[in-house]
Symmetry: D2
Subunit: 381 residues, 4 copies
């Protein structure tokens, strides 16, 4: 199969900052991503049997033993029609102390159960000399393609996602937790992107990984351009899911030294990035954002009273805000660009984004925008 | 065994409003409670084997098919060092659409997984013509007595808790999710209480059920009286857990017609009730409150645009606020009164509250308070 | 002077729903808007003297006596680097019980003081048989053009804004509280827009009024199109304010029967509308949203226990969400389109949006988008 | 006049930690408090004339120029039926950059206006090279004694409160903003208390100052003891206000190095302290808490990217939580102990707390509690 392009290869205007090496969340040093993809069967739904189009994605936030050396975290709920288990503790303590998992809605329990098992194996003191933990497990609903009620993600998939986690390039589209996900009526799933600030702005990297599953075709905006309306006219006849059961979970990583309330604020900006792609955060759609910074490690055990933390001055936050909006927008578009046509439950067929048409429409806009101003020098109105 | 007294049988002053028939959350019509208690083994911890002192409690919020006929819900997080899965959606939508489960921290995943299985069996349209669901599963850490990392609560226990749920009296103390729980260094667990407002205040019932697992002995206040300091002096030698891994989950039910933001506010008052028993909402303690009203049912499917909802006028809220504080305080004390001595992991022994001493101290206070004022009529200062 | 066009007269794609009669917040029946504009002096800043470029805008939410007959309200804080006094009570009670005022940052106190005086004159029972009130007063910082520290908005301006409030068309641009405000480095201020849903979606009207004062030129998106980058290149030489002291206050009105938690959610979607115009909700920018529904009146005094409230079913919310995003986007663009060049403190000159260039760029996009697809029928990728 | 005792002089059990030197918020180094008390006239209400029983209190948070050298702040809203202007920005930025003022509800605007004037005089760059500011002004409703609608707190009172602010002992009771305030139907107002942790717990000081105006007599708990019920029986005939328009604003200061999310959490514990005195956070009562730490100064202007902040390890928070609960409880009781009988509008007479009866009842409890256990050694149940 010919490789699918990533969003920026289509010429889409994607902001002022440059991506990191992989244009992925793994550009934040130490962050690793692994997927377990579960695809089985086709044709009519046989509850509990399939067809299966699902999986689980695991993000290791900066070190394999995030239990012992926790990272500072935060988050934001744009629309809470969804779940990230462990979110309450994340928002209270401002710490991430487990890997972050992404899966389908009805597998949150099974993934959490397996995550606990793995954590206890890695850290036998859990529940003994150490506190218990609450794993971070986010979800979207993949039921248009997947036998979601069959709860097909099990322990071995969670272990596979953890054990295959690596740095470097990240597989996108219909992989891991994103296997059965859909965005603006096109096939989507996992997408990622990053930005590296210029040294004058601190040189920090911010990376975003999304499991994207929201929106209607007519809402899609690509680099701002309202392409959805055009595609809607062209693809009116495509089958599509009818309930607004979308959602998106976004995970933000940065090496900028942010405090927890700064990470909460950063996560809010990712919500603006989701909005730019066209989301109206529909009633039934869960837009939940999890953020962490690898710059400060918070030890689980310490004899000290006080520690010294590097904190970015608030006055330096604005470039990070812009970077996270850009990277979120691009991560969602990458999830759309990477995914191919997929059929699933009852023969439901979800089409891939027609990337060549997107490329052409963007090119037309670029040509139009590059033309000289209509009437010479700027006029005084 | 001689039955343990409930808190009000000790003469403790527990407020101005009268309890309902059972002095339990089941006094709210339609609410049912079931427990599955898992007790196995004793002696040294053998990870994955036991000793096991845990379980799961299930609250059916007003009807067995809360999926189809949802009830209005809300909640509050006093300290978020804990988890109620599904909380994000509860706070967003203001609806309860699954039973509410209480278990140990590391079994949240397994209980959620089983809850999904049960919900799908009951409602085969989940994930097909109906939306998916996110079960409400709250937790506390019972690791001083229980092999928590063994994740001993499994599917059959969840089913048992659901299937044995009933109205009428509710078992308290070391049962269900409360089996291994401890409060102010005494054995506690599940407790419940209710209040029925006078007809002039609407005649509404409010019920509270807690899984109580917080605090230190010296903090304990009983009907306000700082008995903890006295008991601390007497029981200084008792073994006790050393980390502040407590927590408390409280579930509030009422038949008062409250909107979701009113339920959020009601839940906040339950937090004040927790505080009255001595909680300082310690860093590692998760105080999470879930509330629902059975007065308005919200259909999952409707062809209507608008529905008419009865709403209590805000000016009538204050008696409910007081009632929920009283019932929360009493529910916690009931969990302490009902529980007996229990040993667990590594022979750890948690003592029951010395109820006769409490009775005596309360009686002394009542006698002192009943004495005539020191100097005849109130003096002008 | 030739009249300035409104945004939709420029051909900008502004969504799927149609505006109401005036394309203004006053399309929601009963809502009235009044302005008091204070412009005095020019040249160097003489603190306390001028130049003055400021004012106050007043929104009457559905009836002149909103104190006695309150409306249901809600809100959201996207970035809290700003102030709407009374916001805490609005979010707690879910009620609007005073007019809503918009002014400059350092005049919030004076406007609140005058608002209290006016409220007491209208309702002499305040502080006697009735509760006291906390007026809703929002602000942005107009200090690049205005002697903000001079606190030039005084009692008579507040009274003028109230007394001139009317239904029908609303003056936009450099009027009232928006007199000295700037958006994406162009002159802006007050803008408004509305949407009327089709009858099949309930036929509800939603109106938005903004005091818009945020962003940088390069961030500006117009109907999604990233025109800011193009304008930035052309207008690089323009003087502009250097600190990110922007902000935007948006007031949403609707006749849809929404409960307070639904209005909170609606307000969140207005934040997405702000994001679509290019906002990154910069650190120093206060994005605060106030929402109310005129459909249910909540009496201050009642002998009843319960009232019956019409509530829109959650499943019907999505069109309102889209409508409010569209109307927010258009209200901001209207504030930009209406405002003309303005000079102020120390000769600072803020240029108007070059509307003819916007018109031309939008037309080019429309032409490009209307062209037939590049390769005939949609291709299978 | 004979001096009134402070709460601990009555023998009330007030916790395990010791107060600082002054048992006042001023025990936190650098914190200063000033009052302006406005008392004029008596007899029938003549609107706008009096009787006047009000004032304003000013807390300088650590240095006179908190604008240039800001302190880390946070807060919590227990019940939002009240106002602290500037709260939105405080919760967003986590910084206190103005003094904190406490006054009556209808004077918030006037106090804010005067505070801005004073801030601009002290810092002429405001609105020029510096950002504008939003002063922190909290309120309670004193209308049972005061002509609140007359808005009698004006500019000179604000200046007086600032200019008389000092360290050392703090006047309590019917002074400053607390002049006309009432708690549990007894005269109250301003109260303060502090705790100093042992060196082994960091040696930090936490101070609380309240403007206390909440609750009903029967709700009052003193050191936990439910004295309100006893006093209610004795003082049933006293005139009292009939609407539940109470409120309490609490200001917490500490020299412990806390981050903003830690201060938010600390403020939540002060809410538990309010609850211990008997508050049910009634519908119409505004319980708002503002917290700040003097340990880290955040410069307004800096050329740096990152700063190094000392942060208390979360595991060390619990003693501070307990200390703040204790100090809040004591501060409220101090406001009650210090205030004397006061008459006001229309001859309304609010009685002082009968401190000798409180002393006697507490002594009886202490005697009862000190008696030996009822049955010799602790019995095994």
């Amino acid at each position: 199969m010919e490789p699918r392009p990533r969003a920026r290869e289509l010429g889409i205007p994607l902001g002022r900052f440059r991506p990191g090496r992989w244009n992925a969340i793994t550009d934040v040093e130490g962050v690793k991503v692994g997927h377990s993809t579960v695809i089985r069967g086709s044709g009519p739904l046989r509850p509990g049997k399939g067809p299966v189009r699902t999986g689980v994605t695991c993000i290791l936030p900066g070190s394999r033993n995030v239990f012992a050396e926790r990272v500072v975290g935060g988050g934001f709920v744009l629309n809470g029609a969804g779940e990230v288990s462990g979110m309450t503790q994340l928002l209270e303590w401002g710490l991430v102390e487990t890997p972050i998992f992404l899966t389908n809605t009805l597998s949150v329990g099974a993934v959490g159960d397996a995550a606990v098992k793995w954590m206890v194996e890695q850290n036998p003191g859990i529940g003994l000399e150490h506190d218990v933990i609450i794993p971070l497990v986010g979800e979207c609903d993949d039921s248009w393609l997947n036998d979601v009620a069959g709860r097909h993600v099990r322990e071995q998939h969670v272990y596979e996602a953890i054990q295959t986690a690596s740095d470097g390039p990240v597989a996108e589209g219909s992989v891991g937790g994103g296997t059965g996900m859909i965005t603006c009526d096109f096939k989507a799933g996992i997408g990622t992107s990053s930005r590296k600030l210029p040294e004058s702005m601190g040189g920090y990297t911010v990376g975003v990984l999304v499991m994207s599953n929201f929106g209607l075709m007519r809402q899609l905006r690509v680099g701002g351009l309202p392409l959805g309306e055009i595609l809607e006219a062209r693809y009116a006849g495509l089958p599509r899911r009818e309930r607004s059961y979308g959602s998106i979970i976004a995970v933000l990583a940065t090496d900028a030294p942010l405090a927890t309330h700064q990470l909460d604020r950063l996560a809010k900006r990712a919500a603006l990035g989701i909005g730019r792609v066209g989301s109206s955060a529909m009633h039934g759609s869960g837009e939940i954002l999890v953020a962490f910074s690898t710059a400060n490690r918070v030890p689980r055990e310490s004899r000290k009273m006080v520690y010294r933390m590097k904190i970015l001055l608030d006055a330096r936050l604005d470039p990070l805000y812009e970077a996270v909006i850009e990277a979120t927008e691009e991560a969602i578009l990458n999830s759309l660009c990477a995914a191919r046509d997929m059929d699933g439950v009852n023969g439901n067929l979800c089409r891939a984004l027609p990337v060549e048409e997107v490329r052409e429409l963007v090119a037309r806009w670029q040509a139009a925008a590059r033309s000289p101003p209509p009437a010479g020098p700027p006029r005084k109105e």
